[in-house]
């Protein structure tokens, strides 16, 4: 008699072989549409407009216009937000209703948002519709009418609702406040203005004036994912001709200085506490890029990436004794500065104790007590996160767009990965020490009676 396990084993092997017998270069439906699967962005200048594209095989395309006009560059608070809200409104050629209905018919999705440095207007659609959406984005950038009635009837109302939503979110308010304390003006300007600022400074005229400064060929980059370089260049060359060559009045691009300090805001909707340190600028910025800061952020961590386990990160282990307190460390990299933030959200008492514990942890790193294994894990995770961000459609597009605009260098995946390999325990130690010796930026939002002052948890501000 043949034993059952023997048959089972053979069957398993046979199955496995069967699946391996497939040709290695096999690809799905996408293969026919576009033969290349490059992860590199190709960039070039088309009639003065910077164009970068990644020809990923697939039936869909994502096209974005990245404009160097985020909150950092706005001359008055709220203009970047207002300009974002005016995207896809009436243009000289067609009404916003027509834009909406036509895009719906083609199955396209339109979106506009802003970050501290960039304003992004993007469209996702089926590959064959590239000419239509290239024309649409070109039109939005150069021919939007900025009418009074649209501002009053549609935009003002949605702006107010959006702001209400944003200002109710304590963790967002705390991060904004930390940026403000750290960088003052420029990078420190609020991502979302207060409604008083909107009333004071934002209207269709100021927005239109900002648009004529922001939407200039020297200030925009067209980034695509899933379109061939030749095709994209052709359509951009055709549809972006009416964009003005240079801004009416160039937006101020003062270099960022780090100040540090403390800000405390009372808020009824929860508690959030942010401890921030000067970080490293983004990868595309070149010399001022310090990979060890990103690794330090991962090492501190706070959020687990593996289910059912607190993870290796030091703060997530520390957070175990403070249930109800959420700790997250992130590193915000901008073109010429960065901010390493440790954010605590949850109940005020938990935050008070957890923040003291976190600073102790950071001091321990600075004194050199890091295990080698943790460093390896942190480097690996940082690398993964950075690569994933570069590879993913959303972040990759914006990173690339911002990279080209600020330094003429797209975000190349391979190079980002390599930079983290050089990080060692010694580098982390000296980085942590430098952070603790320097000034930190601390922001407390919520129950100010309980939330600690920076001096109480042992920080210089």
């Amino acid at each position: 008699m043949i034993s059952r396990s023997a048959i089972g084993r053979n069957a398993q092997l046979a199955l496995r072989r069967q699946c391996c017998a497939k040709p290695t270069g096999r690809r799905g439906l996408a293969a026919a549409a576009s033969p290349s699967t490059s992860t590199r962005y190709e960039n070039e200048d088309v009639a003065g407009v910077k164009v970068a594209t990644r020809d990923v095989a697939g039936p869909t395309t994502k096209l974005a216009v990245v404009v160097k006009a985020g909150t950092r560059y706005e001359p008055l608070p709220g203009l970047a937000f207002g300009l974002e809200r005016f995207a896809f409104k009436n243009t000289e050629k067609r009404s916003s209703l027509r834009i909406t209905r036509e895009s719906e018919l083609l199955g396209g999705q339109l979106k506009a948002y802003h970050t501290r440095e960039s304003l992004v207007i993007e469209a996702k659609f089926l590959q064959q519709d590239l000419p239509y959406f290239a024309e649409l984005l070109g039109e939005v950038v150069s021919q939007t009418k900025y009418t009074t009635h649209e501002y009053k009837e549609e935009i003002m109302e949605t702006m107010a609702l959006r702001l209400h939503d944003k200002h109710a979110d304590v963790s967002r308010v705390a991060l904004d406040s930390a940026h403000h304390v750290a960088f003052h003006r420029g990078l420190g300007s609020a991502l979302y203005p207060t409604s008083a600022d909107v009333g004071r400074y934002v209207n269709e005229e100021t927005i239109a004036a900002y648009a004529s400064d922001a939407y200039a060929k020297s200030n925009i980059a067209v980034v695509a994912n899933g379109a061939s370089q030749a095709e994209l260049s052709k359509w951009v060359g055709q549809f972006f001709t009416s964009v003005r060559a240079s801004p009416q009045t160039p937006l101020s691009t003062k270099a960022t200085t780090y100040y540090g300090g403390e800000e405390r805001l009372a808020h009824g909707a929860g508690n959030s506490y942010v401890v921030a340190f000067p970080g490293s600028s983004s990868f595309t910025s070149g010399a001022s890029y310090k990979p060890e800061i990103s690794v330090l952020a991962t090492l501190l961590g706070g959020q687990s990436t593996i289910k059912w386990s607190p993870g290796f990160s030091l703060l997530s282990k520390a957070a175990l004794s403070f249930p109800g307190t959420n700790i997250a460390t992130s590193h915000f990299a901008y073109s010429d500065a960065g901010l390493l933030t440790i954010q605590f959200t949850g109940d005020a008492v938990g935050i008070r104790d957890a923040s003291a514990e976190a600073i102790k942890t950071l001091k321990a790193i600075a004194s050199g007590s890091i295990s080698k294994e943790d460093v390896t894990k942190a480097v690996a995770l940082t690398k993964y996160n950075a690569l994933e961000a570069a590879e993913s459609l959303d972040t990759g597009l914006v990173l690339t767009g911002a990279g080209i605009l600020h330094s003429g260098k797209p975000f190349q995946i391979e190079e980002v990965g390599k930079s983290f390999d050089s990080v060692t325990a010694d580098k982390l130690k000296s980085a942590a020490k430098a952070l603790l010796d320097g000034k930190s930026a601390v922001s407390a939002v919520g129950d100010l009676h309980v939330l600690p002052y920076a001096a109480e948890i042992g920080l210089n501000v």
Partner: protein
């Protein structure tokens, strides 16, 4: 709800325009609204959604002036008087400040209607 008008058809034909212009001038004066200090666009019936929306789109100054003219006209009507001659609406003051906005709103509504009843044909490859 802009007032129906043959004006465009007439202006396109210079010979007809030359004939009609004196008649139009006579008619406008005879209509009597200028003697009350009103403009032609003040007479458009406003009790409907389109004109209400158009009125909201007027600038604050235009909106204030309109209300002033209408109140003055009502006052004159009550007291069975007309304005002194130098305060009549002059030809150059009698501009269409509202009807362009009304036409714009009507075009928007028409576009919406057209898009709602759209027929889709598949694109030929």
């Amino acid at each position: 709800m802009s007032a129906p008008s043959f004006a465009n058809a007439i202006i396109k034909r210079p010979w007809l325009y030359r004939i009609m212009k004196p008649i139009a001038n006579w008619y406008t004066n005879a209509a009597g609204y200028r003697q009350m200090g009103l403009r032609a666009d003040d007479l458009i019936i406003e009790e409907n959604d389109t004109v209400q929306k158009a009125l909201k789109r007027l600038s604050p100054q235009e909106s204030y002036d309109r209300v002033y003219r209408i109140r003055r006209a009502i006052q004159l009507s009550l007291s069975h008087q007309i304005l002194p001659k130098e305060q009549y609406t002059k030809d150059e003051e009698d501009i269409a400040y509202l009807s362009p906005i009304i036409r714009q709103i009507e075009a928007e509504e028409k576009e919406r209607g057209d898009l709602d009843s759209l027929m889709i044909t598949k694109r030929s490859k």
